[in-house]
Amino acid sequence: MMKIGVLALQGAVREHVAAIQAGGAEAVVVKKAAQLEELDGLVLPGGESTAMRRLIDCADLLEPLRAFADAGKPVFGTCAGLVLLAKEIEGQEAAHLGVMDITVARNSFGRQVDSFEADLDIEGIDEPFPAVFIRAPHIVRAGADVEVLCEYQGRIVLAKSGPFLGCSFHPELTGDHRLMQLFLDMIENRELLPTEAHYSKI
């Protein structure tokens, strides 16, 4: 059985665990670096990216997480998780993991009163996907190897790059597990992914 971790320092951990289990994989609640070794993939959940980053630093997790990603292990980031993955963050000097060749703008749809739900047309998913955007970021720049899977109102909200999948919204807040399934499929078909393009840049 595939083992998928959920970084459990803060945020919507329970929901991702349920989605992973619904997809027939084993979910591991990850708080320490040593736990990364046994994983086939990792989810960076929604939450507050600044709080998560501080807890990542406290737990000495930054380098182990980067190493996990650099080894070509799949990582799925939602909302704050997308911000953690990004190579650049608009208006900020330093990125967090900085492994996915995108630039994100934080809270770019506005404050909480502007948070919204919308149905999205996603590349490779047949029926519209119900998405919950909460103080959501979006991708303002996608590198050459990044595959844009969905735009909403002209903004990139879902993209894939080698082993990395990232979205602005919270698939974990709905009972719709199709995006998690897409991620699990990515892991299963991992040898088919164009990870070399990613490696060549490191």
Binding site: A8, L9, Q10, G11, A12, V13, R14, E15, K31, G46, G47, E48, T50, A51, R54, L55, C58, A59, C79, A80, R106, N107, R111, Q112, V113, D114, S115, F116, E117, A118, D119, V132, F133, I134, R135, H170, L173, T174
Partner: protein
């Protein structure tokens, strides 16, 4: 088609706070300290609960200038307190764009009979509760997040523990009940039948429930997580301690790793005095903030 202010969007915002610490701040400088320490949100208010307790007088919504400065100072969500039943304070905070409103018993109530109809707002609300009946009534009015009331501004965890144990104990009883027992339980608890059915189905409350009211140390925060809180609010505990920055950082870490006791020992070393704190028996009935709300 997009829709704002739905239950999913309002409750979802609180789900993203889980495992985190929300800190009371009275100015932009404190808000920055809180954000740097890893707070998941800050609560802007005029005076922290222990000062309200000490100074007395009517406690109201903070000066919008303070709230605005806090909003401009940090990128994390900003919550703010409005008085129970004060429609206009709540609408003002919503118009200012705060991310969450706490309809709070820490402030002097504006209405001693009715709470806000929170379903009417786009901005989400958090409310205090001591038992499942209060939880049900607040959610019925539209609260998207709950917290224990505890006894604010005391630095004494005993009431928060009491309230969290009460709520979670009642949830467990409801889950174990037969469906034919729910209506009588609804009558006895002051909770709607529909609400109890939902709790039974989910096996938990339908919204996030944080601990609040008396958390003063990293161990206090970890205790509340141990007892099943989804996260913690720290009011006076941080900026009334001797070393606010260190307290804030230690409480954030202890909350995330609440069962790592060696870590909590390390975090708690040489922190210096926590806020002084109050024994419950010394607080007169009129000064018990938890009795406010109905």
């Amino acid at each position: 088609m997009s829709e704002k202010g739905t239950d999913r969007v309002k409750r979802g915002m609180a789900e993203m706070q889980k495992g985190g610490v929300i800190m009371d701040v009275v100015n932009a400088e404190q808000a920055k300290i809180a954000e740097a320490a890893g707070a998941t949100a800050v609560m802007a208010l005029e005076r922290v609960p222990s000062d309200i307790r000490k100074e007395g007088g009517v406690a109201r919504m903070a000066d919008p200038r303070i709230t605005e400065e806090v909003m401009n100072a940090v990128s994390i969500p900003v919550m703010a307190k409005a008085r129970i039943g004060h429609i206009t304070e709540a609408r003002v905070l919503e118009a200012m764009g705060v991310d969450y409103i706490d309809e709070s018993e820490v402030l002097t109530p504006a209405d001693e009979e009715f709470h806000l109809l929170k379903n009417d707002y786009t901005v989400p609300f958090v409310c205090g509760c001591r038992n499942i009946g209060e939880a049900a009534r607040r959610i019925g009015e539209g609260a998207s997040m709950l917290r224990t009331k505890g006894e604010p501004g005391t630095g004494n965890i005993v009431e928060a523990v009491r309230h969290l144990r009460q709520v979670n104990g009642e949830v467990r009883k409801i889950v174990a009940m037969g469906e034919d027992e729910l209506m009588t339980a609804a009558r006895d608890l002051g909770a709607s039948y529909e609400f109890l059915k939902e709790v039974k189905l989910l096996g938990r409350l339908p919204v996030v429930n944080f601990a609040a009211g008396g958390i003063a140390t990293p161990a206090d925060a970890a205790l509340m997580m141990e007892l099943g809180a989804d996260g913690v609010f720290v009011g006076s505990g941080i900026f009334k301690s001797d070393q606010p920055e260190r307290f804030a950082r230690a409480i954030v870490e202890a909350t995330a790793h609440y069962q790592d006791y060696e870590l909590i020992a390390k975090l708690s070393k040489d922190l210096g005095p926590a806020m002084k704190g109050l024994e419950m028996a010394t607080i007169g009935a009129a000064d018990r903030m938890q009795e406010r709300s109905w």
